[in-house]
């Protein structure tokens, strides 16, 4: 089967593929950023910065 | 151009020939036939927004703020047999500025969507002699296109005074002016000698027969109840206006040298009295023109017709106008330059700049719009300054729409790129007498929603108003109340979105409710009834509730209604008078006024500061500069100042305790002398009824008042029991409460009645000779307290008074008897509920009782634990109403309502937070007070209503650029 020209590069990296350790790490990063953004925005309001 | 002129000439010739042949045809249309000055139909559609209609705030060369707006209006249309007809002048485009636009100040103006600048004006004056108008009429004032509207007449001492307005062709008018011919004029107050503080009632009623308003002057000959006749009416006219359609270019002046402006040289040669400016071609060979001009500065006299030519060089052949101004960076807050900074760059000494305007467009009043002959130009001046207020383009010929002719193009707009019609009116799907499709498409090809709100039913006219122009407010004067009370959508409530800066006020006295406050026109349990007084006059009595200044204290998860925030108000359609058995509502029960105690509150040497810059920068009104007049009576406010012929004019207003303004604003200026060549006149002192102001000094941001007086009411007496009429012959007795009333003598010739009041033992407790009810007394009735008291016998809780109209009959005296009288003093706890204080309010003209208010002296706190608050309780201990918070999350109020108990049934309003709200402000019931609040917020409210109707999210704070919901754009309170 041909590589999907939309998602896979010449080295075989498929950006829509998501599994294993890589997936877990991406999830972790997502969680970390989300918690960070929500916390910062919320706390800043409580501190009356905006 | 040449062709057009030929055509015009031939047309004129043809018209002249026709006129010769048949004089009846010479008048194309009588002023009465044109809809100028008239309003669209009461059920016209209003659409606040269309992309092509701009609404922006710009600044002129001196940093003055100008709020500009545009609108498209259709009026006077009629549909019959599948055809809609619109008379000439029925469809018009309107562009309006706040204040005015004058030459030599680079005043911005919108011209069919283009951001243009007014550069020149030619002004004139209309003078009309011996003009009369009947009450209720809107009569054309000569052939000026203006109409005089006689709104209403009322009386003092039974003599008439009237409120009128001069309506411009577009339908706009700045204010209603009071005028009379039977009272002492304003200067007469100078003869008064009063002390300070509470003083006795003034005997005279002051109202001038001349109303002065800058460039406008009305001089009344005879003002009656049914007709008003004017000796003369003078008001300004504009014959010609020139706009620069694009942004000017500023170049530093180089003395004795030239600056290149594209392919032209502009020279400046220093002369003792200005610069000789010369414009040549690129090589300096061909001189296009030269002239000695002086640098422009802010003094107003330079706009005088005889003066303004000294300040510019205009060369229409090469489309160029040159002025010289002081370096614009000096002009703080000017948007002459794209960066507008909060701080001046610093004055650069002696630096002068050319300001070069091009794309000049000159329009003449009453002549065709230069880009489109189908439209006629109307230039409406500001009646105060005589400078340009509105540009109106109206259709010159009548129009017809039917299913074959569905669209009509608006005037062609000037554009840098492509001159094209500014809009298209589309009316389609005609069906007998109705139309089902109506919209306007702008020059961006964007359109409004269908302006037939119920297409299945259709509409019987195609009148509309599209755009957020403040001229809508006077136009809607007749229909705004029914419009705002439109029951088809339930209670119209607009969301008031969350803000981290709620307007927190510690006391809501003199404030008005939020402009997004829901309006509930009708709630069972709040009375609204007609009654008749002894004279048979119809009186409308009504009750209302309003909440003002409330806010969510989101840090503490609660809702706060500040002191004076929760108000119950009851009033009649006019003030309530004694000696006439007039009644009003007191918590749902009829109460009869028996007498009143009024005084004149006088202050001398009052300092009044203008609050020029609202410190929050957000339009949040700060009332610190208000001067209070007596305790919780009225407050004097310095709204703004401006210059007329370089003299400062102060604009003051008088605020009532309820947050409503009293009457129109008043203007004071000193030394404007028509003999001295001034264009303008303003009164040097103010006197209207019993309120007067004598200034000592009027400055631009300070006014010193020598003397200021206004009525104040301390107490009223009333009873819940209906008065009884008796005829007593001398010696006759009648039971009066716990007493017996005996008539000792009746003297019809001297017009007196002697009365005795006896207790149960037959002992005389008091006696009094009522009257004489002679001409001198009658002349002061019913308003003058002393005169009124002279025909009343008052003792304990009873009162007997003479009938003022027919006091005697067959040797008997006709008397009116009252029992169970209570005295109600200002700022005392309400008899049945000490949580509220009573506050009778006075009319500012006379000394009559006008309104009764009950409000809370302590803040009211509502939260999850206390979601219900009971309004004032009546005699039965039951509250008149309850405030119920149904759903509140600590930040936003999601559901709340007001309920009453009426005839054993609980009556609830709709949810007053249909969309989440941040305050509890509300208006329930219709009284004059609520009407005043609605009038001040009419445009944003109507705008809300339209977005509400289509389910769209309403703009959070502003309806659009210049009209913000903090108040009507052009009326500062």
């Amino acid at each position: 089967m041909d590589r999907n020209r939309h998602t896979t590069d010449e080295s075989g990296f498929d950006f829509m593929a998501n599994s294993g350790q890589e997936e877990q790490d991406r999830d972790t990063l997502g969680i970390a950023f989300a918690v960070l953004i929500i916390a910062v925005l919320t706390v800043f309001q409580y501190w009356k910065l905006y | 151009m040449h062709k057009r002129r030929l055509k015009t000439i031939s047309l004129v010739f043809f018209a002249w020939l026709t006129a010769l042949a048949w004089p009846g045809l010479a008048r194309s249309a009588a002023p009465e036939d044109l809809p100028r000055g008239l309003t669209p139909a009461g059920d016209m559609a209003f659409m606040p927004k269309l992309a092509g209609l701009r609404n922006k705030t710009y600044h002129n060369q001196y940093g003055h703020e100008k709020s500009l707006s545009e609108a498209i209006v259709l009026r006077g249309s009629d549909i019959a047999e599948g055809r809609a007809t619109v008379p000439a002048g029925g469809l018009f485009y309107i562009s309006e500025t706040s204040g005015d636009a004058a030459p030599l100040s680079r005043d911005p103006f919108l011209v069919l969507g283009e951001h243009a600048y007014l550069v020149d004006l030619a002004t004139d004056q209309h003078r009309i002699q011996n003009f009369s108008v009947a009450q209720g009429e809107k009569k054309p004032v000569g052939d000026t296109g203006y109409r005089m509207w006689f709104d209403y007449a009322t009386d003092h001492y039974e003599k008439p005074y009237a409120e009128l307005a001069l309506v411009a062709p577009s339908g706009g008018w700045p204010l209603e002016f009071p005028i009379a011919s039977e009272f002492p004029d304003r200067e007469a107050v100078l003869d008064l000698k009063t002390g300070e503080g509470h003083q006795p009632q003034l005997e005279k009623f002051y109202l001038d027969s001349e109303y002065l308003y800058g460039a406008t002057r009305f001089k009344a000959a005879k003002v009656g109840f049914e007709e008003a006749t004017f000796e003369s009416i003078t008001f300004p006219a504009i014959t010609e206006a020139t706009f620069a359609m694009s942004r000017p270019v500023a170049l530093e002046v180089r003395q004795e040298d030239y600056r290149l402006y594209f392919d032209k040289r502009i020279y400046a040669f220093r002369r003792p009295d200005g610069f000789l400016v010369r414009v040549t071609d690129f090589w300096g060979r061909k001189v296009f023109g030269e002239k000695l001009i002086k640098p422009v500065t802010a003094q107003g006299y330079k706009t005088l017709m005889g003066e303004k030519d000294k300040y510019h060089l205009t060369l229409p052949e090469i489309d160029l106008r040159v002025e010289i101004i002081i370096h614009p960076s000096w002009m703080k807050h000017s948007d002459f330059v794209p960066w507008r900074v909060g701080k001046a760059h610093g004055f650069q000494h002696g630096k002068l700049e050319f300001v070069i305007y091009d794309d000049l467009l000159t329009v003449r009043h009453g002549e065709p719009w230069p880009l489109d002959e189908r439209y006629t130009v109307i230039l409406e001046p500001d009646l105060k300054t005589g400078m340009l207020k509105r540009l109106v383009l109206e259709n010159a010929e009548a129009l017809v729409f039917d299913n074959q002719h569905t669209r009509y193009k608006g005037p062609v707009k000037w554009s840098e790129v492509w001159n094209r019609p500014a809009f298209t009116v589309v009316a389609d799907d005609f069906d007998g007498d109705v139309v089902r499709q109506l919209y306007v498409r702008d020059y961006y090809w964007m359109r409004t929603d269908n302006m037939v709100h119920w297409p299945a039913d259709g509409r019987y006219n195609i009148d509309f108003f599209v755009g957020s122009s403040p001229v809508l407010e006077p136009i809607l004067e007749h229909s705004f109340l029914t419009r705002l009370a439109d029951p088809s959508l339930g209670t119209v409530v607009e969301e008031s979105r969350f803000t981290s800066y709620p307007k927190v006020i510690s006391d809501a006295s003199f404030y008005e409710p939020d402009h997004t406050a829901p309006f509930v026109p009708r709630l069972k349990g709040l009375m609204r009834k007609l009654s008749r007084n002894r004279k048979g006059e119809r009186l409308l009595s009504a009750e209302s509730i309003f909440i003002r200044g409330s806010y969510v204290d989101y840090d503490n998860n609660r809702i706060v209604i500040p002191p004076a925030g929760l108000c119950y108000s009851s009033r009649n359609a006019r003030n309530i008078r004694s000696l006439a058995g007039e009644k009003f509502f007191m918590l749902g029960k009829w109460a009869y006024l028996t007498s009143f105690e009024s005084s004149t509150y006088v202050r001398k040497n009052v300092h009044l500061d203008a609050w020029k810059n609202r410190p929050m920068g957000d339009g949040n009104l700060m009332y610190w500069q208000d001067e209070l007049l007596g305790v919780r009576n009225k407050a004097l406010r310095f709204n703004k100042s401006f210059y007329l012929d370089d003299r400062p004019v102060a604009e003051l207003s008088l605020m009532k305790y309820s947050g409503n303004r009293w009457g129109a604003h008043f203007f004071l200026a000193q030394g404007l002398d028509p003999q001295g060549g001034n264009r303008y006149r303003m009164p040097e002192l103010f006197a209207e009824g019993a309120t007067y102001i004598v200034p000592e000094y009027v400055g631009a941001n300070y006014v010193k008042l020598k003397e200021f007086a206004t009525p104040s009411i301390e107490a009223i007496s009333f009873t819940y029991k209906k008065p009884k009429e008796v005829l007593l012959s001398p010696g006759g007795t009648v039971k009066l409460g716990g007493f017996t009333l005996r008539c000792t003598t009746v003297d019809a010739a001297a017009r007196t009645v002697a009365l005795q009041l006896l207790d149960e033992h037959g002992a005389t407790v008091t006696e009094k000779v009522l009257g004489p009810l002679d001409a001198a007394t009658i002349d002061l009735l019913p308003q003058y307290q002393e005169a009124a008291r002279s025909v009343q016998l008052m003792y304990a809780d009873v009162q007997a008074e003479m009938d003022v109209k027919n006091p005697f009959e067959d040797g008997k005296a006709r008397l009116w008897l009252y029992t169970g009288i209570q005295r109600l003093e200002r700022d005392t706890p309400f008899e049945f509920d000490a949580r509220f204080v009573v506050h009778p309010d006075v009319c500012g003209h006379c000394y009559q009782f006008n309104e009764i208010l009950l409000d809370n002296p302590e803040p009211i706190i509502l939260d999850k634990a206390n979601p219900v608050y009971e309004g004032p309780r009546g005699r039965d201990g039951k509250p008149l109403f309850r405030i119920v918070i149904d759903d509140f999350d600590g930040e936003m109020i999601h559901a709340w309502h007001i309920e009453t108990e009426y005839r054993g049934k609980i009556e609830k309003t709709d949810n007053l937070a249909f969309r989440p709200r941040k305050n509890l402000d509300v208006l329930v019931g219709v009284t004059g007070t609520v009407e005043g609040f609605l009038r001040l917020s009419m445009l944003p409210r109507l705008g809300f209503m339209e977005s509400w109707r289509t389910g769209a999210k309403a703009p959070a704070t502003k309806l659009s650029g210049s009209v913000n919901t903090g108040g009507s754009a052009h009326i500062k309170r």
Binding site: F44, L49, Y50 | K56, T57, Y58, H59, H115, D335, P338, W339, R340
Partner: protein, 65 residues
């Protein structure tokens, strides 16, 4: 102040991102083999275009017109 800071930083991000996009996407100056003059002028041109665009767009935030 906080909002202003965030707004300014976002503006900076948008400016840098847009110049980088133009640099890489339009001028393709990031490719290996591109000489330094190309890199320099592409960089300048990309920043200038980006600055002009965002100055215009952001100008709407505070200008009165």
């Amino acid at each position: 102040m906080f909002t202003l800071t965030v707004l300014t930083l976002t503006a900076l991000l948008l400016f840098l991102a847009t110049s980088a996009t133009l640099y890489m996407g339009v001028f393709k100056a990031h490719r290996e083999g591109a000489g330094w003059p190309r890199k320099l002028f592409s960089g300048l041109a990309a920043s200038a275009l980006s600055a002009i665009f965002w100055a215009g767009a952001y100008g709407y935030h505070y200008l009165g017109w």
